[in-house]
Amino acid sequence: MSFTQQKYFYGDIPEDHTGKDNTSTTFETKNEWPLWEVFVRSKQGLDHKHVGSLHAADAAMAMENARDVYTRRQEGVSLWVVESKYIHASSPDDADSFYEPANDKIYRYPVFYQLPDEVNHM
């Protein structure tokens, strides 16, 4: 598959207009800190929710960075951080076998059961 993108968009300046050479260099990172995923509980009673990631040298710093970066506007009352490499994610390739089988189990839902009006609030 090939195409050329010619149009320039705000936030996307094409490479042929940059006026610099674009010879790719192999990049080796020197002192990059590991990546951490951040989860915030926005208020008591709610689950922690994934909000993004950040870099930090260790867990203590990751926690503080999460506080400084992701809760500047009182977004949270509790934080979780976990180094990204420890997250195991399901593969989209498995989606059919993982999630499709739940599709036809309508008896798991309350609306499946017809009850007389007198008790229908059950």
């Binding site: 598959m1 090939s2 149009k7 968009f9 936030g11 020197k30 990059e32 040298a57 500047r72």
Partner: protein
Amino acid sequence: MLEQDLEKIFQNKIDNEIKIEPKDWMPDAYRKTNIRQISQHAHSEVVGMLPEGNWISRAPSLKRKAILIAKVQDEGGHGLYLYSSAETLGIGRDEMINDLHIGKAKYSSIFNYPSLSWADMGAIGWLVDGAAILNQVMLCRTSYGPYARAMVRICKEESFHQRQGFESLLVLSRGTDEQKAMCQDAINRWWWPSLMMFGPKDSESTNSDQSMKWKIKRKTNDELRQQFIDMIAEQIKVLGMTLPDDKLKWNEKTNHYDFGEINWDEFWNVVKGNGPCNKQRLVAKNKAHDEGEWVRAAAKVYAAKKLNRQKEKAA
């Protein structure tokens, strides 16, 4: 599965407004375009800290100082959210930053203009952030999930940026003669560059537009620019100032404002590195990064030491 089938499924999702997520199959070019666009967007945020940051020490009141610090800091945060979302596409932040520092990656040219007076802080908030917000609101619906989510977060935070800019100009516009002149001068200098932020005219594009098809972008440059002009042309009346364009005029037929020709030579020159501040901006970012190298190294070494000690203790 064949690549063309995968591509069909991919395009189907996009047509049906289903977001693309990091582990989903995507065409290489989609990945690359997103990396380029998101990282340029991130670079724009962090380079954008510089022209405003240089007025923090000179802000004329404690209230304005607090607002400005919070705003410039927000831009750092936005850069961070964007780098994070680009990292889900398999590129490290260090690599993106390196591309910026060696001049390979680009950022919005607007930040290569100097901020010369206090009124520039207002003009940047009102015009530059105003232009950016139109683009960002559109990007909240972009097809790549992590990018869209970052934009939602950013838009929420950005909403105060344009308002504070306008409010700050409003005070100047009602102030002393010197303040009024300062206000008009800032608008004169930032008006055309902020129109350039939307990129070249649609008519310059001859090819089919892949970014629109992939719903990375959802409005054309000209559509966004017109929307911006229509908005600002009304708002400036409240300030009692003028926009530096004698062709600017309401058009009954189109229901839009007509406007004069943008200086595209200037635009491409700034993109190519010949803007008034291109060099200073890159020097400043390189200097900060280079001088931070030992800090990052020390933190990494200390983290490893601490971990080892914990292991020894446990053993």
